[in-house]
Amino acid sequence: MKLCLTSTGKDLEASVDHRFGRSRYFIFAATEGKKYRVIENSAASASQGAGIRAAQIVMDQKPEAVITGNLGPNASSVLLNAGIKVYQHGGGSVQEAIESFNKGVLKEITQATVGGHFGAGGGRGRGGRGDFSNR
């Protein structure tokens, strides 16, 4: 089974990126074996709509499930509409996330876990405060 994981680095030791749209990398890995492929997320620096573009990048690779930290409203809307299952991983490496997925202990995400602009960070008091994030 082909998984897509948001990642802060280019290998399985890297941490799962807690953001989806502005994740640094996407790692496409098989649930069995050690094979994986890395794609840099070109949507990470988008001025707007990062979640939507990132979802397009991910879906074009046709994974069977997505594992990430949080999902914003637009990304959750497109991914859930596209019919792909999304799972939440609290923290830890990509490798650990795959193992947790195989054990069946990851929670499925069925709606946005954070508000818009959660992962945008930077100035204007944004980032990391999902509850207040709608400008």
């Binding site: 709509g49 939507i52 397009q56 497109v78 596209a82």
Partner: protein
Amino acid sequence: MKKIAIASGKGGTGKTTVAVMLSRLLSKKFKVRLLDCDVENPDCHIFFSDAPTEKEEVCVFYPEVDTEKCNCCGRCQQVCEFNCLFVMKDRLMFFGELCHSCRGCKLVCPQGAISEGSRPVGKLFNSKVEKNLHLDYALMNVGEARATPLIEKLKKNLKSGADYAIFDSPPGASCPMAETVAGCNYAVLVAEPTPFGIYDLKIAAKVVKKLGVPCGIVINRSGGEDKIIDNFARQKKINILFRIPYSRKFSCYYSKGVIKENFFPGLADKIIKEMLRI
């Protein structure tokens, strides 16, 4: 027609106060058109007893997708700079609030599946409010993300026939402010002599300079000595046009919806003189 923008970085420094005073003072001798470009929260009309009632709806383009013709090739998604399209195997999702109405998607669609849709974003109001003074303002619909289409429309509707057009800018130094100031003959930056005031004034002055619009500063709630602003103005060679003193009486009138332009009759002369000198 001379166009003067009244801008600031910080909010609440007195842009509307200056814009209304300047418009009224000028209207004693000239034909004036006051444009309230703060379309998210217009307030100039509060200070006139004859508030405009005429309404015109402003619409922007959005892509209307013919699902019969669309074959989900994804060209529209690839060309969209604003990431408002998501293409699936069998359908397309569109996020209207992200769309900037550039029509790129319509232009590239090989199937001709995208046609001209139109979406209301706000309303325009305008009427004569006093002798020689005409007020235009726009009100953005709740939930809209972009103010610039309404500001563009306000400026586009500005016909010749007036001697002066005064643009009351939205606060800040981002797109709506830049849209307002661009193309003006002169910009008046209203600032208050506080650390917050100078911080935002510096940003606003930078934007105005980049737009190539000459500017001067009006200090509001002046305590007489406004070192914090004066130093910056001297350094950047920007003239201080006027100091509106802190006045409890003036504020009391203001809080009742009355702007007493006669308190500071020299304001208009100073601004116009400086604009014409440049």
